[in-house]
Symmetry: C2
Subunit: 325 residues, 2 copies
């Protein structure tokens, strides 16, 4: 399958690497809104201006759109679905129904297939919420994120006056995780589930007390959490906080038996050294499925819920049954 | 959907309970090879002789076959797939390709749909092996079982002369689990992965040393493992080992990055109070999918790999996207 990348940030770079690792994929181009001469991919793939992409229509089986969910993807994915099979990682959970409707209209009318909201949450975590709740209808779901870097929260801190750079880690509360894993089915507030650790590089002479106060009281981002703020030097940030690790757990506890006497715990957990590289790896597996499904005549917008798992693998159905079942 | 159960042992009883818990399922009958008068279901469902099942052909959307994998299912599932949509939990991994071929022939010729090898291993563990290996092609899979009761190993001990009853627990080796979870990608022998704990009730006057020796040297079942044998009274067995708990973990560790510099760990784990009731719950979710897929004209033999997750849920696609994605 011939894959192209639209947008070359952290995620786009991860996709370049994941496509190279796939045994059955070829990367045919990277499309960018920046000056192509300023973009330096790791491989020898051509870099082309985003607004010339229609010229490459016949050379691309599936286009992986690596834009941001806030403003890029709501416009890009429906537009590009008019001419290409596309995959995106749209992750604004509350806006998924609207995004789905827009992309479905474009893809259905043009006879293409589109997959939205692939990655790990939404994505693999969503799949595990669905599988577990279908198996154990009498139960409760819990999703914990971290320990990992939240890009959105790090950005929010950087926008505070006097802050030069920052890294925010989301951390599950161990006691909450333990209660859930023990099948206690607790009711947990936002504060009881996660804490937030902030590592902040302040500009010289900045008012550290004010910065700490502004972080801890920031609505939605930090005010509902127990937040710690640690000021560090730029050297320490670059040395100790370079990576973009993340992960988390989806846990469902449920009961069976005529009197609910048997408890079952299903847990799916991820421990990721690189959030964008793992997300990219998920996108490439689902890109394989989109290419196959479109080959069978399937069109319109899909989500991870609509993809039969066998379509994700480079192995044949016979190999899968013999080796993995 | 109207469901019937074929075979009423531990698994059949679990299916009766799981169908009752499903919001969209109705149990129309239990079919048994025993004298129906000797079978006492928990609900008021009719119990009928297995050899009269063809009379009920028009009243059953999907038949869940709850027989054993050794001799029952290889014959039952292809035979019944000639007249019914069927689901089984065939779990002899090495024989899955043959069983698939036999069932596929029968179901395809009769225009029915069949799902084989549903449950948790094969089943949910298989799905997780497939998802994880598709996402991280450069990696290794590990499956650990337990702590849980192995029915097959318990039966093997019971066949030894002088043994009145026995319970065998399969237990993952904590050090092996820790190495895998740390992403060390170890090569592990059979002995290094699991230990076997045996609780044995001996007949009065039996030669305990001989029984212990026969267990520990039993080919395939115990000789490749570190096995402990503990003799207990019948009262202790009934008091402390009544349940049929099981569980385990499927773990894949894999690398991404141009130099494999980033390690990712994907873990799916189950902690089950009742192995048959959880397996039954999986069967009922996949029965829902079979009923829907057959309604769309799909026929032939399927496995869990061929089922789009959305088909497992009682929720609509719109509800799933809004609530679970």
């Amino acid at each position: 399958m011939k894959i192209a990348i639209y947008g070359y940030g952290n995620l786009g770079r991860g996709v370049e690497c994941a496509v190279t690792a796939a045994p059955d994929a070829e990367l045919v181009g990277i499309f960018t809104r920046r000056d192509p001469a300023s973009v330096h991919p790791h491989t020898a793939v051509p870099v082309c201006p985003a607004d010339e992409i229609l010229q490459y229509k016949d050379q691309i089986d599936v286009l992986i759109i690596c834009g941001g969910s806030a403003t890029d993807l709501p416009a890009m994915t429906p537009t590009l679905a008019a001419d290409f099979n596309v995959v995106d990682s749209f992750d604004t959970h509350a806006s998924i129904p609207d995004h789905f409707a827009n992309v479905d209209k474009a893809a259905s009318e043009s006879g293409h297939i589109a997959l939205i909201s692939a990655g790990w949450d939404p994505g693999m975590f969503s799949l595990n919420r669905l599988y577990a709740s279908s198996i154990l209808p009498d139960g409760a779901d819990y999703t914990f994120w971290g320990r990992g870097v939240s890009q959105g929260h790090s950005d929010a801190i950087r926008r505070i006056e006097g802050v030069k750079d920052a890294r925010q880690y989301t951390v599950p509360v161990p006691e909450a995780l333990a209660k859930v894993r023990a099948g206690e089915n607790p009711t947990l507030t936002v504060r009881e589930k996660h804490t937030r650790e902030c590592y902040v590089v302040a500009e010289e002479g900045a008012d550290l007390a004010r910065i700490e106060r502004e972080i801890k009281t920031m609505p939605h981002y930090f005010d509902e959490y127990d937040t710690t703020v640690t000021f560090i030097t730029e050297e320490e940030l670059l040395r100790d906080h370079r990576g973009i690790p993340h992960g988390g757990s989806v846990i469902r506890t449920g009961k069976t038996g005529w009197n609910g006497e048997n408890t079952h715990v299903i847990e799916y957990s991820l421990k990721l050294d690189s959030n964008p590289e793992f997300t990219a790896s998920v996108l490439v597996a689902f890109t394989r499925a989109m290419n196959r499904m479109h080959g069978r005549g399937v069109t319109g917008c899909k989500t991870v819920f609509d993809v039969a798992p066998a379509d994700l693998s480079a192995l044949t159905p016979e190999e899968l049954r013999a080796k993995m079942l």
